[in-house]
Each structure stands twice: as C-alpha cells, then as structure tokens.
Amino acid sequence: MAATAEITFRTKGLTKVYRTGAQDVHALRGVDFQATQGEFIVILGPSGSGKSTFLNIVGGLDTATAGEAWFQDHQLTALGEKGLTQYRRDHVGFVFQFYNLVPSLTARENVALVTEIARRPMQPDEALALVGLSDRRDHFPAQLSGGEQQRVAIARAIAKNPEVLLCDEPTGALDSATGIRVLEALTQVNQAIGATTLVITHNAAIREIADRVVRFADGRIVEETVNATRKAPAEVSW
C-alpha cells in the first residue's frame, strides 16, 4: 500500500463532452493520468486541447461526463456539489491567469480570506513571505503590479497548506522576468510544502523546471516525459 499512498491523483478514461446546441464538443476523450505526492508536473498542448478542462475536473471545479478521477481515496467523479466544495476547500490551491483577487481586500486580507476557512493553514504573513511580498501586504490589488498580484494569488493558494496546487497559465499575462519570479515562487512553495503541483503553460521552455511533462492534444494525453534533472526557473530561457 505504500506505493498507492504516494499517488495523489489518478484518472481513468476521463471524458468530458460539452453539449452546446447542434454539435457536441469532446474536450476530453479518455484521459488516464497519475501524479505522485510532491511531484511538479507541467502540462503543455495546443489551444483547445483540453488542458483547462482536465485541470478543472481534477480541481473539483467541473464534473466529468464519463470516466473516473480520484484524489487520494476520494472519488471526485462521485462527489456532488457539496463534496466538491469541501474538497476544494480542504485540499486544493488554485492559481489562475487572471489572479482573481478580491479588489476590496489588501494582499494580506486576500490571503486571510482562505486561511480563515482552512483546516490547517499557515499564517497569512508566512505565505506572503514565501512569495517575497511581505512588504506589500497592506496594499490593495489595484496598487500591485500584475506579477505581484499573481504572487499574492499564489500565497493565497498555498496558505491553506494544500495537498495539490493547480495553476492554469499562471504566467500567461506576465512578461518573462516577472514570469520567472512567479515560477520561482511556485517551485519554492512546491518544495516547502510538498504539494503536488500541476502547471498549465503555453511556454514550452518552462518544461525544464518540471519533474514530468505531460502533453495534451485533441482531448488526450499524447506524450509524457520525465526530466532527469530539474532546472531552476532562472536558468530557463524564454
């Protein structure tokens, strides 16, 4: 059982069909996937290949049409709306392309928003320190740059000490230097709290910082590569 304990995610034949009017869109066509505890996985693939759909389902934001998705011993595909909310609340940290911070709360308050409802959170200040933003904690999102806002979003995602950290194009809206800072924050956090981390990106260069790279195409995983050595974000050329 030692081996299974290490597996955080497992999906089998995961399928998602969007029924919109006349035409069905097959976003996922049977995805089999596994991730182990603490793994840092980069997901690549062309636009529309189903990356976000996949991430949303394993993150408990969306439901599958067929197939199974497991988080540890919870079968996500069997959970209802309440169960999924609880799952997100207890286990998942999200980072998105557009930060999605609450504009009426300061950086630290945005983090506190999550720690207030988490089971074993860290201090908001601690989380902000991990992303290097201690000195900006009393600023509102409108007073922060895009990269800083994204790092607040990361701090908010990790402050609950999540088992998984799901990032959908976290650097998509950022220039390369800022992107690197954000990636550094992510790898640092991955090491510090040992959360299984899935990062979707369009920037193929980023793959070098991952333990493993998964490539999506047309709703399927078409390629998996294990990196023997991980590069640091600063070493990556964009």
Binding site: T85, R89, V92, F94, F98
Partner: protein, 788 residues
C-alpha cells in the same frame, strides 16, 4: 420597419434586466396609482357631494330653537342674504322595534306642506311620500330601513314625546342632510340604532304640541352672502324662542365629518406619491449607473464612431422611458380600479344616492408627467458623468476600483472576518448608492409607521375615553331640563347601581375675537362616572366657579388657565358673564367645556336642574333597564357606552384589514424594489469575486452570506431612519387632521415600529431569496477564463 441597432439594444437590455425593470416599474406604478387613486377618489367624492347638494338643495344654515311661532319665518326670509328659508319641526324620539333590546333613537323631521319642494330634499329610493293628512305615514332613511328590513307598507313603533305610536312606512329615502348619519351621543353611524323619519308637519306638530310653531329652520343663502352676518341676525330673531344659535354648513355634523374624511384622502395624495416617485428615481439612478459603468467602453466606442452625446443619452433615456411607460400603464389600471373600489366603499359608508366618477384626464396627464420626470431625472443624473468623458478615456477600461485609505487599519483592529471587511468596504465604496438603498428601505418602513400608528392611537383613544373618562354604562338624556330630583327616579330604574347627574347647556364661549359654540357640561364636584381627565390622564375635580376647557377648545380660543372667557348662554335666561378658565383637559372628540353642576346652574340663574343622568348598571340587568328607560316619558334618548364602543370597533374592524393590506402591500413594493435592485447591482459588481471565492472552496451559503450581509446592513440601518421619517410623517398628519371635530392622540407604541420593521424585513428576505438562485448559479469556470 428597420429598428436601429441602439433601439434593438434597448429592447435586449429590457429583456435581460426584466426582473429589475419590473421591480422599478412597480414602484413607479405605486406612485401613479396612489396619485390617481387619491385625486380620483377625492374628486369623485367631492363632485358627488357637490352635485348631491346642488340637486337636492342642501341648506347653508341650520338653526334649532324650542318653539318659534309660525309667523317668525317671514322675518327670517326677510333677512338680507337669505334666498329661501324653511320652517321645520325636528325632534328626537325613541325606537320601539320588536326584537331590539337595546335603545335606539329616531330623528323626526317634518316635510314641507306642499310635499317635497323645499330645502334638503329627499331622494326617494322606494315608495312615495306620506299623505300630508296622515298621522301615521312616514318615509324612513335607507340605512335604517335596511337594518330593520323595512319596506313600504311595513309598520313599526316609536315613542314620540313619551307616547308610543305606530307608524307606517310609505317610502325609503336619502337626504343630503344625513350623508353621515350620526346618532346623538354616538361616535360612528349605526343605522340599526339611529334612523331618520320624515313625516308631514301636521303629524309631527300634533305629537310634540307644536301646532302653528316650528323648532328648526334651514336657510339657503344668496350666492356670495355672508353666512356669519345672516347667522347674527337669525340668532337675534330666534333668541326669544329658545334659539341655541345657528350653525353654518361647515359645522353641520354630516358635512363636517365628510369634510374630515376628504381631508384625510387629500393628505394621502400629498404624502404617498412623492415617496414612491423619489424611491423610483433613486432606483432608476442606481440601476442605470451600474448599467452605464458596465457599458462605459461601449459608450466610448459609440462616441468614437460618431454618435453624439445626445444620441447616447437618448438611448439610455429611452430605456428608462420604457420602464416609466410600463409603470405608468400598471399605475393607471391599478389606480382607476382601486379608485372606483374606494369611491364605492365611501359611497356605501356615506349615504349617497349616486356616485359621480371623476376620471379627470388632467390627473392622468399630471401623473404621467411627474412620473416620467422622476424617472428621466434619475437617469440623466446617472448618464451625465459618463457622457462628459472624452471617447478615448471612456473606451479604456476604468481605473480599478480604489479601496485605498478608506478607514484603513480600522478594519484590522476590529479583527472582523475578511468577508465582513469585503462587505463593509463595498458598501463604503459607493456611499451614495448605499445611502439611496438605506433611504429607500427606510421609506417603506416609514410608510408603515405612518399608517399603522393610527390603530394604536385609536386604541389609546378608546382606553382613555371609555375606560378612564366616560366610565358610565349608560347615559339617559332627558327631553328637556328636569328638576334635580329626577336623579332619584333614575336611580330607581331596574338594574341601576349608581347614578350621577349632569347638566348640558348650549353656550357661546368667546375670547377676544375668537368664539365657539358648544355645550357646557355641568358635573358633580368629583365625578365618579363621567370624568374629566387632565392631559396626564388624572381625573380632575370640578372647580367651584371656573371652567375646564378641552385642549382643542383652549387652542381654538387661545386661552390658558387663568384667562377669562365670555360665556353667552343660549338657553334659559340667556345670561352673559365672564368666567375664569381653571384648567385644561384632555379630549379627543369635539370641543368640551365642563364646570361644577351647581356653579353652572348658579351662573345660568336657574334652580337646580339636570339634563340627564349617567348610570352604572348591573351586569345582566341591561335589558330590563333599557325597557324601563325608554318608556319613561322624560327620556329624550339613551346612549349605551358598550354599544357605542362596539359599533366603533366594528366599523374600524371593517376597514382595518383592507387598510393594513393596502399599506403593507405598498411598503412591500418599495422594500422589494429597493432590496432586489440593490442586490442585483451588488451581484453584478461582485459576481466575479463571489465566483472566485466559490473556486477557493467557499460554500454557496457562505458566498450568499457575503451578499446577504451587505443587504442586511442596508436593511438594518434603514430601520431607525424609517422610524424617524415615519414619526415625522405621522406627526404632520396629526397636525393636519386635528380639527374641532376630533383630534387624534399622538401615540406610537413600540409594536408599531416592530410591526413595520418585521413587514419590511420579511419583504427584504423574500427578495434576497429571489437572488439566491443567481448566486448559486454563478459560473465558476467562466470567471477564470475572462478578465473583468
């Protein structure tokens, strides 16, 4: 037909925001409806009354006397300014209806000799007028006939001047003189216990020994003649014959009560519609401001491609005009329908032979203009700011909402949950909108406070009048003054436990140029049954020499304790003298003046006389008492407090449910309209944040909680403000309504505030629940894909 793209957008916006559109339209509709209802019902009643008076020659001046010789009428007709004068006999008698235990009164009014040709003409509903030669035939008032199922041909018995007589109904009629038929000693019309019978003068003269004489005269004046001057001469002419002073139409009971009712109606027109229109304007402004913020970039684009600021403004004004049109249409229908219903209610309560419906197009035009102006005004305020922006600025997204520095640090020190901080910051970020929301909800609370308080105040009035002041069970009023020993025979009547005499004398009280005509009541030095209360509700002892005036009278004469008033007695030796005002008493109905009974008799220069007795009765012996009291020849009429009170309560109960329903309905329209719009706007602004929170693992309930706590803050802050505004409106109404006829005690109990708040909170909850579906339906993934 080609619809321009902008107009198509208007239609789509209307459809997309249909719920908000309807909520605003309903508030507008309530304003329009109350305006039309009020002015319509007012105009209908006013016109109905005017035509009724005109067609049936309602008199301008009324005067009673004991016995005037028939020849006097020629002198009266000769008074300058008199167009027509009619001598009548008007007398009270008692009812003797089979199966009716409680005492009832009948007012007998003589018909002119030549049939029904004179003033205060009858409107015959059924049958015919009595044969002038007949001693039995009468026409009775419609309400009375209905209450006793009398029809032409039915006989019934009365006691006239102490003698039982059988009468035969030949007709059923209405009279402009008794539109509001209030029996003696009553507070509300009760057609069962008070009726009017018209009969030939000869018949009535025979019964009351008034052959060749009359006891009442009514005058029609030349248009433009001064009633006061005519009354002065008339009073001089009738004084030798026991004239107690003439009354102008304005003080005639039926007319005055109808007037008071019309006054209340017009007060409603002044108070309610402005509230609705103000709230509607605020809602339009709120909603449109949000819409415009969302469409700011589109507006910039429109201007960039060459649309003029005017054209853009027109687009939004059209949107609002559509809402206004909907509200006006609903308001017209509801107002016309309710107005007809209300006029009918009034017609039933007051006896009108017909109802003139006034559908004044002008009212509708005014309602349309005012409503449209309110809506467009609210809209223009919202549009102005964005139109002022140069297109380039408008097209770029607005600077992110800046929450900086607003009470920074305060929140941290309060150590509130972050969601509460969100709520508070969001409310403070848009202070004007938050204030509008609070004011709107406060208005709905105010409407309820301003309408519901009157019920509690009536309870207070009942308590004070019947349980602290007039504690007697019954009052026997003699047909004329009797020697003091009549008290002892009253005490002998079956079922009587205690008796207390009183003397009532008509008099004119004057102070400087102010004067009032009323009855001065003489009471024992320390009355036990019919007590006079001081403003702090303590029973007052009758002073040895002076007068105690009711607050209304003291105000009317502008006197204070210590001042002296001139008293001209209108009965007996008609003395005039000056008396000190010893105190001021509480009194809600009519004008009151009281003094010690023997002091009153002394002032009159008469022996010990009494006008009647107040009695305390043995429970269960009432029936025996009624029977004995009504057959005693001395008895003029008997008033029974419990019956008066019961009738009063019944009448109120008939109206109270309708009124409460109407007011709660109106208040709910505001509360729902404000809360729903406020919530929709908040959701539109924060939907993205709320969805983000759901992604972070907040439950639906927690996320709804954030929005609901914002609504709760608005609704709760509105309560005290609403109480205050309601209090102010109620105070204004009390001042406007108080007249010589009655004044309303201004008491607002805590239960009034509580009821108003509960009703409004319930309406707010209902609209919050309507929003919940939208919160639950927030698309979590959508917000992740898009930047705001």
């Amino acid at each position: 037909m080609v619809i321009s793209p902008l107009r198509r957008k208007t239609l789509r916006d209307l459809r997309r925001l249909w719920a908000q559109v309807i909520a605003i339209a309903l508030v507008l509709a309530a304003g329009v409806a109350t305006l039309i209802l009020g002015t319509g019902a007012y105009a209908s009643l006013d016109e109905t009354r005017a035509r009724y008076y005109e067609t049936y020659r309602f008199a301008d001046v009324f005067a009673d006397m004991t016995r005037a010789p028939g020849a006097l009428i020629a002198d009266i007709r000769a008074i300058d300014g008199v167009l027509a004068a009619e001598a009548r006999i008007v007398k009270l008698g008692l009812l003797d209806m089979p199966g009716m235990v409680e005492p009832g009164t009948m007012l007998f009014v003589s018909l002119p000799d030549g049939g029904d040709g004179g003033l205060n003409r009858l409107h015959l509903r059924q049958g015919r007028l009595p044969d002038p030669q007949s001693l039995r035939e009468v026409v009775v008032s419609e309400g009375f006939a209905a209450a006793h199922r009398l029809r032409p041909g039915t006989a019934f018995a009365v006691v006239m001047n102490g003698q039982r007589r059988d009468l035969l109904v030949t007709g059923i009629a209405l009279s402009p003189e008794f539109i509001y038929a209030l029996g003696p000693g009553e507070m509300m019309p009760d057609p069962r216990r008070f009726g009017i019978a018209w009969l030939p003068g000869a018949s009535l003269a025979a019964a009351y020994d008034l052959e060749g004489a009359f006891s009442n005269v009514v005058l029609k004046l030349v248009p433009g003649a001064s009633a006061d001057r005519v009354i002065e001469t008339l009073d001089r002419l009738t004084a030798p014959y026991g004239g107690v002073g003439a009354t102008p139409r304005a003080d005639q009971t039926s007319h005055a009560f109808l007037d008071a009712e019309l006054k209340q109606l017009s007060a409603m027109v002044r108070v309610l519609p402005p509230i609705f229109l103000l709230v509607a304007a605020m809602l339009v402004n709120m909603t449109l401001s949000r819409l415009i913020t969302l469409e700011r970039e589109q507006i910039g684009l429109l201007k960039a491609v060459g649309y003029s600021a005017r054209a853009v403004a027109q687009h939004y004004v059209e949107f609002v005009l559509a809402i206004a049109a909907l509200g006006i249409a609903i308001g017209f229908v509801a107002g016309a329908w309710l107005g007809a219903g209300m006029a009918q209610l009034y017609a039933k309560f007051f006896s009108f032979p017909f109802l003139v419906f006034m559908r004044d197009p002008q009212t509708y035009a005014i309602a349309t203009i005012i409503t449209t102006a309110a809506a467009v005004g609210g809209a223009l305020l919202a549009v102005r700011r964005v139109l002022a922006l140069p297109p380039a600025v408008a097209m770029s997204p607005p600077a992110p909402t800046d929450y900086r520095s607003r009470l920074a640090g305060v929140w941290r020190r309060l150590s509130l949950p972050q969601t509460a901080v969100m709520t508070a910051r969001h409310l403070l970020r848009w202070p004007l909108r938050t204030l509008s929301g609070i004011l709107g909800v406060a208005m709905s609370v105010a409407i309820l406070v301003a309408s519901l308080w009157s019920f509690g105040s009536i309870d207070h009035m009942i308590d004070v009048t019947f349980f602290r002041g007039e504690r007697q069970d019954a009052m026997v009023v003699f047909a004329g003054p009797e020697p003091a020993r009549a008290l002892y025979s009253a005490r002998q009547l079956p079922g009587v436990l205690a008796a207390e005499p009183f003397r009532a004398v008509s008099a004119r009280l004057s102070h400087r140029n102010l004067s009032r005509k009323l009855s001065i009541m003489g009471k024992p030095a320390t009355p036990r049954l019919s007590r006079v209360l001081s403003p702090d509700l303590a029973p007052m002892a009758m002073p040895e020499a002076g007068l105690i005036l009711s607050e209304a009278l003291a105000d009317a004469l502008a006197v204070r304790p210590g001042d002296r008033v001139t008293v001209d007695f209108l009965e007996g030796n008609r003395r005039s003298l000056s008396l000190p005002v010893s105190g001021v008493s509480l009194g809600y109905v009519g004008l009151g003046a009281a003094m010690e009974i023997s002091a009153l008799n002394r002032a009159m220069g008469e022996g010990a006389l009494i006008s009647g007795v107040n009695l305390m009765l043995d429970d269960g012996a009432e029936a025996d008492f009624y029977a004995a009291a009504t057959t005693t020849p001395k008895t003029g009429f008997v008033a029974v407090m419990s019956l008066t009170l019961q009738r009063f309560k019944e009448t109120l109960a008939e109206n109270i449910t309708i009124m409460i329903t109407v007011y709660v309905g109106l208040a709910s329209i505001i509360a729902v309209g404000v809360v729903y719009n406020f919530a929709r706007i908040a959701l539109s602004e924060q939907g993205r944040e709320l969805a983000s929170l759901r992604v972070l693992g907040f439950t639906r309930a927690e996320v709804s909680g954030i929005l609901f706590s914002e609504l709760a803050a608005v609704v709760l802050l509105a309560q005290p403000l609403g109480w205050l505004i309601g209090y102010g409106i109620a105070l204004g109404m009390v001042t406007a309504f108080s007249s010589d006829l009655y004044r309303v005690p201004f008491v607002i109990g805590r239960e009034v505030y509580a009821t108003a708040s509960l009703a409004v909170i319930a309406a707010a909850l209902a609209s919050a629940l309507a929003i919940r579906g939208r919160i639950n339906g927030l698309d979590l993934i959508e917000v992740l894909k898009t930047r705001e």
